[in-house]
Amino acid sequence: MKRQRYRLDVGARIDRGKTLRFSFNGKSYEGFDGDTLASALLANGVRLVGRSFKYHRPRGIFSAGMEEPNALVQLGSGAASEANLRATQVELFDGLEAASVNCWPSVDFDIWAINDRFSSMLPAGFYYKTFMWPKKFWHQYEKVIRRGAGLGTAPELPDQNIYDKRNQHCEVLVVGGGPAGISAALEAGRAGARVILVDEQAELGGALLGNGEHIESRSGVDWALAARTELDEMPEVHILTRTTAFGYYHHNYILMVERLSDHLGAPAGTLRQRLWKIRAHQVVLATGAIERPMVFADNDRPGIMLANAARTYVNRYGVRPGNRAVLYTNNDSAYHAAHDLAEAGVRVEAVIDVRPNPTGEGVEAIRQRGIKVLAYHALVGTVGVKRLRGIEVLALNEKGDGFSDGLQRLRCDLLCLSGGWNPTVHLFSQPGGKLNFDELKACFVPGETNEAVIVAGAANGVFSLQGCLAGGAAAGREAAAKTGLEDPGAPSLLPVIPAEEGPITPVWHLPPVSKGEMRFVDLHNDVTASDLELATREGYRSIELVKRYTTAGMGPDQGRTGNMHALAIVADTLGRSIPEVGTTTYRAPYTPVPYGAMAGRDVGALADPIRMTAIHGWHERSGAVFDDVSQWKRPWYYPRPGEDMNAAVKRECIAARTGVAILDASTLGKIEIHGPDSAKYLNRIYTNGWSKLAIGRCRYGLMLGEDGMVMDDGVTSRLGETHYFMTTTTGGAARVMAWMEDWLQCEWSDLKVYLTSVTEQWATLSISGPNARRVLSDLAEGVDLAPESFPHMAVREGKVAGINARIFRVSFTGELGFEVSVANSYGLALWQAFQRVGEKYDLTPIGIEALHVLRAEKGYIAVGHDTDGSVTPGDLGMDWLVSSKKDFLGRRSLARSDSIRPDRKQFVGLKLEARVPEGAQIVSELRRRPPMKMIGHVTSAYDSAALGKSIALALIERGHERMGETVAIPLTLEGRVVKAEIVSPVFYDPSGERLNV
């Protein structure tokens, strides 16, 4: 085990008494409680942590936060393995195992690094240009490319953790727990607002944790701790740490993910993360800012990092990120980093500044320490491949757009970059917030928005600590006031002492010094300044297209460090201003969110609701195989020992045709219709007439959409003077109910009609077959079942097996049939009563597959099976159901030119040589291979026991005219074809004799 050679002896937010062991790429190391994986690696002198995406160049830790483009790691193994985590965000725990992603066989020797040697062959748009054409070769390249350019590996085992979700309301949501956010929460809390303060770090403090700055006489960290104490005492303030607000949606709806056990290694079985859904009255965004790098040749070597990151490693983690440092900047903030590095014992060789005359307070302090400041100089290269060994500097020329002679080399193992700051405006922009470009600060700042949001601190382009404190406090007070709370009185503001900061001079890119040099803009996706310059030369103008063509900003880091340079370079190359070019669109999530957190507890059995009938347990015990029909579990068939599906379905069909069968039809949609205008209403909803339906009679109805296409069907019965009972298809129940309510409420509010969904209140058993009446008569009381007093399409009320029941004489099988409905809680009792009395008739339970065969033999349509939303009643040959005496929904559409064109697909039967799959395409002119003109398709196909052959239902162009014609159904490219004869869809008992017995 190696010692932590780069660890400072004192200070920082780590606990040196708590040693944690971890491994990285198979080697063991030690770190301390409070470390991230990145800080612990740096403490151990590990500089090379990964390989870049395209060229597989060696890369080191570049940042100290979520913007990290290089240090992506795979954490853990097996079920708990997680890919592409930023080492800078992984809190260290004892036993942590991590490995670099995107390198093979090892980070030190990476075969794909050969890409770097041939980088001129891999320019922007490389994939599109080289591999997507010719298209037929793509799938051959793809395998190789994916392996070469892949990132981490997704775990293949089920997630072992629990995830939670919570909804919450608050008056003021403060996002970001740095100086501005804390100040806002304090002020809003003091005003009595219900506040949620959220921060992605383990503790409050934000930038104060890493920059070592003081507030009045206290350290920033102590100030944050005191604030936390005060906030904790406020009963209406809720603080969430390790929580990232990642999505900001309209009307102040914010999604956040809280990490509860990741920092402990997320042991199996623990609650790992919680998804918060917040609706806030007011939002204060204090999301801080992200530092930008500088762009020059070979600016990606391990040992190069953001200046602010270096400062954070020193102050927060007690780690020297190098021994000899050079800083390269265009603004003052790098000088503060230089100061802190020097204080920590790092030898600071020089600060290279592109500005001609840097003058801020921080600059003077560095000069006074005797550290060399090379003003009006620029970096043109670095030395070292797997580890930085030095840098190359040139003075800028008079115009500042090129270089003077006189290359200087400086030795260093740490290079800190500061290209200015980008306010973290992602959340602000997500719901449509506009951004303004601030020329003075050279960054985009929040502008107009429609949300109730105030942006404070660095996120608002205010980079001084005093400004953040004051701005945050003002935002907190304003937000509280907007919720209607009284101002608590005198503001508890701190005296504002403006620090003397010199202005920034952005130098986005300088010309290359030598040919082929790589000036990286997007470190993660290996996009260089030359790639962007090339894209604009090739004609790209829109930043959105440049992004997709070059892939700049499209990695897991979303280009947090590189996007501003990318757009500035595009603007510069096109001769346009930065605001003219504009930014790409900011979309949620701000940082990646595990699917587990999105799913929460809605996994496994809870992924989707399962609806079961009252008789489900009996079906299960009887060995039923179930089919999912919308959310319902319906018995599909009941195989007996030794039976396959075909054998079982055949037996069930024969039982229904020759004996008696029982089916659980409880899933049918059921709607009670009451009110004096019910018949008038049904006349408008259904295609056929309802005025003359007598009490005690049932009628089949067809429902159309206003476009004239069949939407649903079912039997509706008249139970009383103003009382009807409608059934719908199982899958259509909710949709039909909503449709009917819609018309009643929005168009026909004058009708006195009341609808109640009773699908789940009734259990319905369907008895059908020649012996159906005999079985039922053994159980029915008070109902005359004789055909003359209880005809087909009639309804009676009485008792069955002693249970109050509605008995409908209806049939979907073509045999004598009764549907018996009882209160749902009696469903199983009724079913069992039928099993008892049915024994002597060999009453056979049948599933929906047999029912489908039986109804197909009769040519009865199954809506959604034989129809698909483009089928009219005429197409189905059901014009007889369409009344010409009244208006109804969809009627006018039946006369549209498209509805009456003669070449529509029409519903027919097919006599087949062999079984064909449903959905099979039908042709009239068979050719050796496609293309062939398709004239229709098979909608239902079954083996019919009653007919002793395969039958199908189909929709075929001009089908009704084609009776007797032979068509072909090509099934494979190898030429397997089934011939079919077009016939009437009614295969069995066309006169309907069997129904009227």
């Binding site: 009307h251 709806y253 719901p431 909503a738 819609d742 409420q745 208006d887 559409s893």
Partner: protein
């Protein structure tokens, strides 16, 4: 994710509602008198303004009542919520 103020229940999350498209489209009283083009206009054609739009919403997972919402299609600001049958805002009637 909108926060919609149901006129019967008060403000509720968007997921409790279903959308019904443009409001104030009255079903023609005598469809048979319309040409195909006029019927198609009622059936298919909807305004798609960049700005305020009167649209129908139903509180499906609440009171199941339909009502009208005037929403700005760019900012998603809900300018008005009113019951079925009430006239739209501004100069026009129903």
């Amino acid at each position: 994710m909108l926060l919609i103020d149901c006129p019967y229940c008060g403000p509720r999350e968007e997921i409790e509602f279903s959308y019904g498209g443009e409001a104030h489209i009255e079903r023609p009283k005598q469809p048979d008198k319309l040409s195909d083009a006029e019927w198609a206009d009622y059936l298919f054609m909807r305004n798609n303004p960049k700005g305020p739009l009167a649209e129908r919403w139903c509180h499906s997972y609440g009171c199941r009542r339909w009502f009208n919402v005037e929403r700005h299609t760019v900012t998603h600001e809900i300018q008005r919520v009113y019951k079925m049958g009430e006239p739209r805002g501004g100069e026009e009637g129903t």
